[in-house]
């Protein structure tokens, strides 16, 4: 019940495309859903996050869509650039446990 399932494992898009990464969870106690971006050799960087009282959040070219009834959320990257090539992790936080649970990660390659 603590799992967060992320898909796809890897993704290749052309520059300007809109990659979409999906995550699903089971535990309805989760109340905060962040996305992290990690470049090779670096630590994960907090990219954008959403709470379940909203269905969408945009920050620059990054958008989170949240479907509370389906227990799913996704990351969309608008006008993707080669510099967006990285590994993306979704995560979920429960105030009950005080811990972040991470998805398996998606490796994104944006081709020039």
């Amino acid at each position: 019940q603590q799992q967060v399932k992320q898909s796809p494992q890897s993704l290749i898009v052309q520059k300007g495309g809109i990659p979409i990464i999906n995550c699903a969870y089971e535990n309805t106690a989760f109340d905060y859903f962040p996305w992290y971006q990690q470049f090779p050799g670096k630590g994960p960087a907090l990219l954008i996050a959403i709470r379940p009282d909203v269905s969408e959040k945009k920050e620059g070219r990054f958008t989170i869509s949240f479907n509370k009834s389906a227990k799913q959320f996704s990351l969309h990257i608008m006008d993707s650039q080669p510099g967006d090539s990285a590994t993306y992790f979704c995560a979920a936080f429960s105030g009950n446990t005080g811990k972040l649970i991470f998805g398996q990660g998606t490796t994104l390659q944006v081709k020039p």
Binding site: P34, G43, P44, A49
Partner: protein, 113 residues
């Protein structure tokens, strides 16, 4: 946000030895955590570093193997004890005012030979 630094950035250690990793945060934070990340894999929580008390360990991780200290609100250490090649991994420190919005350090890349 918080800026987090870790030392060392990488190390190569011999089997049976111990390594202490330091984590420094640029501001006072309530929560600090230690994670392990195998190359190409996701993050696994090792423990929550509690200021002034013993760390809270996740299933599969024990204090004798991964002793943690947190003497104040901006600093923590993780020791990897009696190392074996299976301990080769990336060790990450994170911090935040709550457990939700966590900021990560750059990681320590450990290779055990």
């Amino acid at each position: 946000s918080a800026v987090i630094s870790q030392k060392p950035s990488r190390d190569i250690c011999q089997r049976g030895t111990s390594l202490t990793i330091q984590c420094q945060v640029d501001s006072q934070v309530t929560m600090m955590f230690w994670y392990r990340q195998q190359p190409g894999q996701s993050l696994t929580l090792i423990a929550t570093a509690n200021q002034g008390s013993e760390a809270t360990y996740e299933s599969g991780f024990v204090i004798d193997k991964f002793p943690i200290s947190r003497p104040n609100l901006t600093f923590s250490t993780l020791t990897v004890s009696n190392m074996s090649p299976e301990d080769s991994s990336i060790y990450l420190c994170s911090a935040g005012r709550g457990g939700d919005e966590q900021y990560f350090g750059p990681g320590t890349r450990l290779t055990v030979t």
